[in-house]
């Protein structure tokens, strides 16, 4: 199973989204979410949104290993 995390404004679009799912890439997660959560999937398609696996920024076609933590990160606004 892959654990899913959504930060910042993405969290508002991810209400009711399962916290785990089976998928082989972050891009596939986005595709799978589009069926039930089209607004979230649209947000995830914004070019500024980054994806991390186990707290490392990766490409959307990164192969996911079982037990990975995938986080979706909108542009940061700290400081």
């Amino acid at each position: 199973m892959i654990t899913l995390l959504f930060f910042g404004r993405l969290g508002d679009f991810a209400v009711g989204v399962p916290t785990t799912m089976e998928a082989s890439t972050p891009a596939e997660i986005r595709t799978l979410l589009a069926a039930d959560f089209p607004a979230l999937a649209k947000e995830l398609s914004e070019p500024q949104v980054l994806v991390s696996v186990n707290k490392m920024i990766v490409d959307w076609d990164q192969h996911l290993l079982k037990g990975s933590e995938v986080a979706f990160l909108p542009p940061v606004t700290g400081g």
Binding site: D12, P47, V49, P74, P75, V76, G78, G79
Partner: protein, 185 residues
Amino acid sequence: MHTIRIQTDDFDLAQEYQLLRELSSTVGAVVTFTGLVRDFEGEDSIESLSLEHYPGMTENLLEEIVGQAHKRWSLIGTTVIHRVGELLPTDQIVFVGVASQHRADAFEAAQFLTDYLKSKATFWKKVSQGGEQQWIESKDSDAAAANRWDKGLLLGDAEGSLLRGAEGSLLGDAEGSLLKGSDND
């Protein structure tokens, strides 16, 4: 020597300064930056600010940023403190302190650290305005402030520049970088 803290509690500027000052008798300069919560966002006043972060990843990114500063400049000590949770206007939100032998290293490293943590570290701000909450949008100017360090624009990009990016750095645009910008994708 460096300290990184992410905390809900406030921090004491005088105490943090003193800790940097006392690191070594070779310290000749301490530069500190303190960021505060403004009471406005856009044209409207705000009631409060909420800060979210990605525990674990934020610390990793800050370690990378601070490590990069220590490689680029001759530093004796650095402190980065970032608060999270609920904050009110005028509250302290972020502290960057740098101790070095000479002022140029401390000034430049403090600005680098502040620019980088603003545009690279996994924090997200939400403000409460008129009883409604909304996420703050990132600013192009913040990304530009960080990018100029990559490009060596501040002190020229001549060979041997203090600001030249380190080879294979996680802060550069190498494959697998923690801090890779979205425009590389």
